[in-house]
């Protein structure tokens, strides 16, 4: 029995050529992530999260120079400034992915939430709404185009969407004014769950 007949070799070569052709035929990548759709909005807008019927809304943004977690505790201070983002989420029937919230600024800076128990963003049980706050420590000189990025944490790269909330800081002068007017301290509210109406 002969293993390497000319026909066998020809088929092999054909497969290699086919592989090259498919690579040439792939379209140019337009998006950074082809499987993610961006849902854009502003403060106060109800935005659909993760393709399902759950929604996310940013109700208020506050700047503060210190954070108080409990009334008895000493306030936590910062060399920069704290940004508190108060949110309102409503969970639909489909279970949404967990939220990973970050703030991004114009220059590519990424801010992560501070690790306090009540600083975070999540969904209640189906049919309920929840309000709470997430706190970020930020650099006061790097706030232009501050955007809240609400991403689903995914184990597989399936088609999904993420929420971008423009927090309305178009320039450094406005950022500076907001930092100057920052509250002396911000009391971190406990998350509250209610029946979604």
């Amino acid at each position: 029995m002969k293993l390497y007949r000319p026909a066998t070799i020809l088929v092999g070569v054909l497969f290699i050529l086919l592989g090259g052709l498919t690579r040439l035929a792939t379209p140019e990548q337009v998006y950074d992530e082809q499987n993610m759709k961006a849902v854009r909005g502003t403060v106060g807008e109800v935005l659909q999260y993760g393709g399902g019927d759950s929604t996310v809304k940013v109700t208020r943004m506050k700047f503060a120079k210190a954070i108080v977690e409990n009334d008895e505790d000493k306030p936590i201070e910062t060399n920069g400034v704290f940004v508190a983002i108060e949110w309102d989420t409503v969970r639909g029937s489909e279970k949404p992915n967990n939220i990973k919230a970050t703030l991004t600024a114009d220059g590519g800076t990424v801010y992560a939430p501070i690790g306090l128990t009540n600083s975070g963003m999540d969904f209640p049980e189906a049919g309920f709404g929840k309000t709470g706050a997430v706190i970020f420590e930020v650099n006061p000189s790097d706030l232009k185009d501050l955007t809240l990025n609400v991403r689903p944490t995914m184990f597989f790269n399936t088609y999904n969407s993420y929420v971008l909330v423009d927090l309305g800081i178009p320039g450094d002068d406005i950022a500076q004014r907001m930092v100057d007017e920052a509250a002396a301290q911000y009391v971190l509210p406990r998350p509250v769950v209610r029946v979604a109406s």
């Binding site: 000493k74 936590i76 201070e77 910062t78 060399n79 920069g80 220059g107 590519g108 800076t109 990424v110 801010y111 992560a112 939430p113 501070i114 690790g115 306090l116 970020f136 420590e137 930020v138 650099n139 000189s141 790097d142």
Partner: protein, 212 residues
């Protein structure tokens, strides 16, 4: 159809294999035995000695995405005496100023406890820290672009731990990508920590309850 030549070839091949079968079996058995002996005697690690600089506090170490500034010359061995309900415990607490130096991604993050380790010496395993405690919060998230925060990290040590000088190993992540040939994403990110420096710090003993 098989020709006679093929059949004879197969027979000869069979003979050749069988003729040396015992020798092959002995060789394979020997290899297995040698492997077991090497494993049992502690593996095939090459002892290289220390290849990173040894510094003495106060000193500054830039390592990966972090900058450590060991300003305090003394670390604390914090002893918790035995009580009726709990065993005696001790922790080694080291103070430093920590700065987020992530000029690649400009991302705020917390210090991974695996990046700062205690080097007990004498061939013992390194002890991982518990990360950085800054502003009274363990795992405080440090922002890129802000000035350094004063932090401390703690190690679990034996209750009778009394070294006068401890050595800390500082490991730094590298901003590099995975191998795209294996199908991984080729965008670089911070990972693959390697040792960057060893810092020697003097210690003093603090008994819990006296100081706080």
């Amino acid at each position: 159809m098989e020709s006679l030549d093929d059949v004879i070839d197969a027979m000869i091949a069979d003979r050749v294999i069988h003729r040396h079968r015992r020798k092959w079996l002995i060789v394979i058995a020997l290899v297995v035995v040698v492997a077991l002996v090497v494993l049992a005697t502690g593996g095939w690690t090459q002892k290289k000695g220390r290849t990173v600089p040894t510094l003495t506090a106060p000193t500054t170490v830039e390592s990966g995405e972090w900058e450590y500034n060991f300003t305090a010359t003394e670390a604390e061995i914090r002893r918790k005496p035995k009580t009726k309900y709990s065993e005696a415990e001790a922790k080694l607490r080291v103070y430093f100023d920590l700065k987020n130096n992530d000029s690649e991604e400009h991302t705020s993050k917390y210090l991974d406890g695996r990046l700062v380790r205690m080097v007990p010496g004498g061939g013992k395993d390194l002890v991982e820290s518990n990360g950085a405690d800054c502003r009274g919060e363990l795992g405080w998230v440090l922002v890129y672009g802000l000035p350094p925060e004063s932090c401390y990290t703690e190690f679990d040590v034996a209750p009778d731990f009394a070294e006068e000088v401890v050595e800390l190993g500082i490991l730094g992540n590298r901003y590099e990508s995975d191998n795209g040939l294996l199908g991984a994403d080729e965008d670089p990110y911070w990972h693959n920590p390697v040792p960057d420096a060893v810092v020697r710090v003097k210690t003093k003993v603090v008994v819990d309850g006296e100081d706080e």
